[in-house]
């Protein structure tokens, strides 16, 4: 294990090294974003462009008893208007990760009769300008018969609760058990038994760029070009083709610059299916850009998972058995990964990085009258990490032990790796104790505990919280995905082409929605080819240019997409060495390449990469059986995933009178295996932390009784975040040729439990054992007052 400090990482950027992997190159793509030259879907205006505007239900549960489009249809500029009854042939938008045995209700393109969540589209107006479309939408006359809405998943499960879908009993989409059972027997023997209730509140994901679609059917060629702000254009092509019954080879999906995705932009949406259908009907391009208000209710939400855990431990804090019952709110319909995220992605990770002999889980996915819930940064792993990390702390606090010490006692030991958890996941690698030790040292944990003692003596509320999250990233292996009902490939594609002038095009099936692939992928290819990253162009997001791919989610782009590039580029490098060897009259094994020049071992003869490339593409002067060209395609298909993990520490002080939490310090030590670009890896940590801290302290959809989110949902501004302290340990993964793991979701997974643990640590002496996120001042104050009130009552009773 090596710890790289920020300064040593930076100092490697001297320009003299021969390798690019590991260097903190600034992002090559940023110039155009900084000068406002990014090209997003909304920037694309096609000849003959039409615009769509939606009429959306303000109610969570209603029957549309009247829908009159006549005024809208006759308004200026309006080309067409459709309600649910005008799109009879169109199917519901199906999910693509369906746990076997689930009761599936897809999202209707438009409400047919029953509205099931706030923001569901009731009608769509198509007009010559966006303003005309929006104005006409305001003229649509809708009468709603409003019914009470079912918002809370636990209430929706109760006996006699109304049904969200008439034919689905108990509003239950699916139930997933995990683990081998045996909890009760283990608990009966245990020294300590605790019940812990935790909630991961519903979050609104909030990409800066909302969704946007421009659908363009060319009647002359029968080709459909479909622009969408999307993380997985190839999956979208397949799903859209299937739902529309459109031949896939005539469908081109383009996802240009994407202004943030965080998960929601990989789902297949009603608006996408509808606009694709509309352009085939109208034979003109139709565009829609989501407004922020629409984004709040029509784009999928995240989390919303309630859990109750039973924990059995011995007197030393070793957890003997864990039983978890989760009730997940999946919203009114199954969005793409609706049943998979709260089940597989939660249950498999419930034991974290700990060796817990006995485990059981049961997770129920429940329909409600709310916006569908789907993958959002971390996608299930934050819920799992939150539960197990809270559980560890609770055991420690109940036993009067140090929470860090209790972690050491429960960690999977190095000799146990790779380790198959009782609930299912396989941890490939990791040095959990080392990583935690490094974090404790860096933050000077012992001094913090002394500071805490001193603070407590003064009546101040000071807390320290640790979390040791893990997750599984770099999604791969098709057969496994097939077995769990996830209708995606587990591979990633790369095509690497060296042009006759020596420049290189890298085509990747991954798709950046802000991560900086252009830079990291160029670094990977540069090392294989012995050239510099600025000689390489990375191309993504257009299914005509990159015919097949899987896309960006699950922190998989570097480990899977990057590996594909490395493999393809390595093959080309081999061929180039062969050609160079021929031209230099040396054997290929004796040729090596550096800074764009091939040379013999003795340094006597050299040839520029571009001359090798030219020879390859002209076929002059090389043996016929070398073949023409320098182009390689790789569909890299990993058989296993990787498990990044980390140790995060939060330090808080709470104002006892106001309940305000001051997050004084935040340290993240992450292990994502081999790091391609430390600067960008750190950027991912920072962004993830902002969202994780956001979940802990600030964010909630705060649905009202109709399922309407708060008018002012909160995301943290820079002045609401501490200075991030970050570091890495590096345990290379053995599941891919780069040794990379994944870092995109780490902060979002690690931060909520670290902060929750710090807050409960601060409040524990007052008798506070549980508080739910977000830890807003009012909630924290209520918890304090309740605990103090309980105390006062006890004193009075004595």
């Amino acid at each position: 294990m090596s710890a790289i400090s920020e300064s040593s990482a930076a100092s490697t950027d001297t320009g003299k090294e021969t390798t690019w992997i590991g260097r903190p190159l600034p992002r090559m793509e940023d110039q155009r974003f900084l000068v406002g030259k990014g090209r997003y879907v909304d920037d694309i205006v096609l000849p003959n462009q039409l615009f769509a505007a939606f009429v959306r239900s303000p109610h969570g549960h209603a029957r549309v008893s009247k829908l009159d489009l006549s005024k809208a249809r006759s308004a200026s500029g309006v080309v067409a208007a459709y309600g649910g009854s005008d799109i009879q042939g169109l199917k519901d938008v199906p999910p693509n990760w369906v746990l076997p045995g689930s009761h599936v209700k897809g999202r209707p393109p438009l409400v047919r009769e029953t509205v099931r969540h706030v923001g569901e589209a009731v009608a769509v107006i198509i007009a010559e300008t966006q303003a005309e479309a929006v104005d006409a939408a305001a003229l649509v006359d809708v009468t709603y018969e409003v019914y009470p809405a079912l918002i809370d998943q636990n209430l929706a499960l109760e006996e006699g609760a109304p049904r969200v879908h008439a034919d689905i009993k108990n509003n239950t989409a699916t139930i997933m058990p995990a683990g081998a059972g045996g909890f009760d027997a283990a608990a009966a023997e245990a020294y300590l038994n605790i019940k812990l209730t935790v909630k991961n509140q519903r979050l609104i994901p909030f990409p800066i760029e909302p969704r946007a679609v421009n659908a363009d059917f060319d009647a002359a060629t029968s080709r459909l070009t479909f622009y969408s702000s999307n993380q997985i254009p190839h999956m979208l092509r397949r799903m859209l083709a299937a739902a529309l019954e459109f031949p896939e080879h005539k469908l081109r999906v383009i996802s240009p610059d994407v202004g943030g995705g965080f998960g929601p932009k990989m789902h297949f949406y009603p608006e996408e299916l509808l606009l694709a259908w509309l352009t085939t009907q109208l034979a003109r391009p139709v565009k829609w850009t989501e407004t922020r208000s629409e984004n709040n209710v029509a784009t999928t939400h995240g989390r919303d998972h309630n859990m109750v855990a039973d924990i059995a431990a011995d007197a030393d804090g070793k957890i003997l058995a864990l039983r978890v019952r989760g009730v997940a709110n999946i919203g009114a319909y199954l969005s793409s990964m609706g049943t998979g995220v709260p089940t597989i992605n939660v249950a498999l990770f419930l034991l974290g990085v700990y060796a817990i002999p006995v485990s059981e889980a049961l997770i129920t996915c429940v329909y409600t009258n709310t916006t569908p819930v789907d993958a959002y940064r971390g996608a299930g792993r934050p819920e799992a990490a939150y539960l197990i990390e809270r559980a560890i702390d609770r055991v420690a606090l109940e036993l009067g032990l140090d929470p860090a010490e209790v972690r050491f006692r429960n960690f999977i030991q190095p000799e146990q790796l790779p380790y198959r958890q009782g609930v299912g996941t396989k941890i490939d690698s990791g040095q959990f104790a080392n990583t935690l030790n490094l974090a404790l040292e860096k933050i000077n944990y012992k001094a913090l505990r002394r500071e805490q003692e001193a603070a407590r003596a003064e009546g101040r509320l000071f807390g320290v919280g640790v979390s040791n999250y893990t997750e599984t990233c770099a999604m791969g292996f098709g057969p496994l995905l097939g077995a769990i009902g996830f209708d995606r490939g587990g591979y990633e594609s790369a095509l690497v082409r060296v042009h006759p002038d020596g420049h290189v095009s890298v085509f990747s099936g991954s798709h950046s929605h802000g991560q900086g692939h252009v830079t990291t992928f160029a670094q990977i290819a540069a090392d294989s080819l012995g050239i510099t990253p600025d000689e390489i162009e990375v191309i993504q997001g257009d299914t005509d240019q990159v015919p097949f791919g899987t896309g960006t989610f699950n922190s998989r782009s570097v480990a899977v997409g990057g590996s594909a590039i490395k493999i393809a580029a390595d093959r080309i490098a081999q061929k180039m060495k062969k050609i160079a060897g021929h031209l230099l009259q040396s054997s290929p094994e004796k040729i090596f390449v550096s800074q764009g020049v091939f040379g013999t071992e003795d340094g006597q003869a050299t040839i520029r990469a571009r001359d090798v490339a030219k020879a390859a593409w002209t076929g002059h002067n090389i043996p016929y059986d070398f073949g023409i060209g320098l182009e390689e395609t790789e569909f890299y298909h990993p058989v296993d995933m990787s498990s990044p993990y980390g140790a995060h520490i939060a330090v808080v002080e709470i104002d006892r009178e106001t309940g305000e939490v001051d997050l004084k310090r935040y340290l993240a030590v992450d292990d994502c295996g081999v790091i391609i670009n430390p600067l960008l890896a750190r950027g991912q940590v920072h962004g993830g932390l902002a969202q994780g801290i956001g979940q802990a302290l600030y964010e909630t959809a705060a649905l009202d009784s109709d399922g309407r989110p708060t008018a002012e949902p909160s995301i943290p501004r820079s002045d609401m975040l501490p200075r991030f302290e970050t570091d890495h340990t590096i345990s290379p993964s053995n599941t891919n040729p780069l040794g990379a793991k994944g870092i995109g979701e780490a902060g979002a997974v690690g931060a909520p439990p670290a902060i929750a643990n710090a807050i409960i640590d601060a409040l524990w002496p007052l008798g506070v054992k549980e508080v739910d996120m977000p830890f807003t001042p009012e909630r924290v104050l209520n918890a304090i007052e309740e605990a103090v009130g309980r105390d006062a009552k006890k004193v009075a009773a004595q």
Binding site: D135, A138, A711, E712, E778
Partner: protein
């Protein structure tokens, strides 16, 4: 987010502007546009749908500030950042520097006007609270008449009865803070947009024993409109403001009579508690400064 369609006028003189809004038909709903930082959001979200917008931006007379005896006149189009940079503010109204550090962001303050913020009377309006402790007065004109109204009474009225449809505010007049007074604006931010959930503006004179000799105190963010707490001001006279326990006893009953609002982040009840703390802490801080 596209507003309803509307007619748009950008008159060159105040007189032309007043003519535009005189004798409107009853169907015409007019909105005055200053910096647009409140109005544009309302239009885009279609919370208001006026069919005529009169933009004051081209009327150069409205962009002037003028020092008058013991005060400053601020034209209706003077931007918040221009106003805050005025010599008068640092010398006689430093509380507005506190406000500028806490209200909105640089872009908003570059566009937003002081008078616009006063006209909007947002319940959370930081500028309004500071205006109240400077006894701000609005000058209101129609074609036929010019009148003056204290910001305090203007802010206390229901929205519909603040201005007639043919009136607009041409300037406001701020009083200088008393010599040797100290002041502060302190707010507790809402986590969403950074507006306040409890804000307090204080201009304070201390006597030799550092007790309160005279005080002006206004609140925003928690109550349904920004307001002076005049009864509390009276009660604070002669009080030792560093005695926080005593202050707490004094403050709370005055808040009990007020109307509070809340949301999912901070309920009305929490805001009331938080406001009491905010007032007490601000006073204690000033007494020690």
């Amino acid at each position: 987010m596209i507003p309803h369609s509307f007619d748009y006028m950008r008159p060159q003189t105040l007189n032309d502007a007043l003519k535009e809004i005189e004798n409107l038909t009853p169907q015409t709903e007019v909105a005055i546009l200053a910096g647009g930082q409140s109005l544009l959001s309302a239009l885009k979200q279609r919370r208001i749908n006026p069919n005529l917008i009169v933009d004051l931006g081209a009327i150069s007379d409205l962009s002037t500030t003028r020092e008058v005896s013991d005060g400053l006149e601020v034209g209706a189009m003077v931007r918040q950042v221009e106003f805050v940079g005025h010599r008068f503010v640092s010398a006689h109204a430093p509380i507005f520097q506190d406000v500028a550090a806490a209200a909105g962001d640089p872009m908003i303050r570059r566009n937003g006007t002081l008078v616009g913020a006063f006209c909007e009377v947002d319940p959370r309006g930081d500028w309004v609270a500071a205006g109240l402790v400077h006894d701000a007065v609005l000058e209101i004109s129609s074609l036929s008449e010019t009148r003056r109204e204290p910001l305090e009474s203007f802010a206390g009225k229901p929205k519909e009865s603040r201005l007639k449809s043919n009136e607009l505010v041409t300037k406001c007049i701020l009083n200088a803070a008393p010599e040797n007074s100290i002041s502060a604006y302190r707010k507790c931010k809402h986590n969403a947009v950074g507006w306040s959930i409890a804000g307090v503006a204080v201009v304070l004179e201390l006597d030799k024993e550092r007790k309160c000799r005279a005080i002006k105190l206004a609140v925003a963010g928690a109550t349904t409109f920004p307001q002076r707490l005049r009864a509390l001001e009276l009660e604070l006279q002669g009080v030792d403001l560093s005695d926080e326990d005593n202050l707490d006893q004094l403050i709370r009953p005055h808040l009990a009579a007020l109307e509070f609002f809340g949301d999912s982040y901070a309920s009305a009840g929490y805001r009331e508690k938080r406001l009491a703390i905010q007032i007490r802490r601000t006073l204690a801080e000033l007494s020690k400064s």
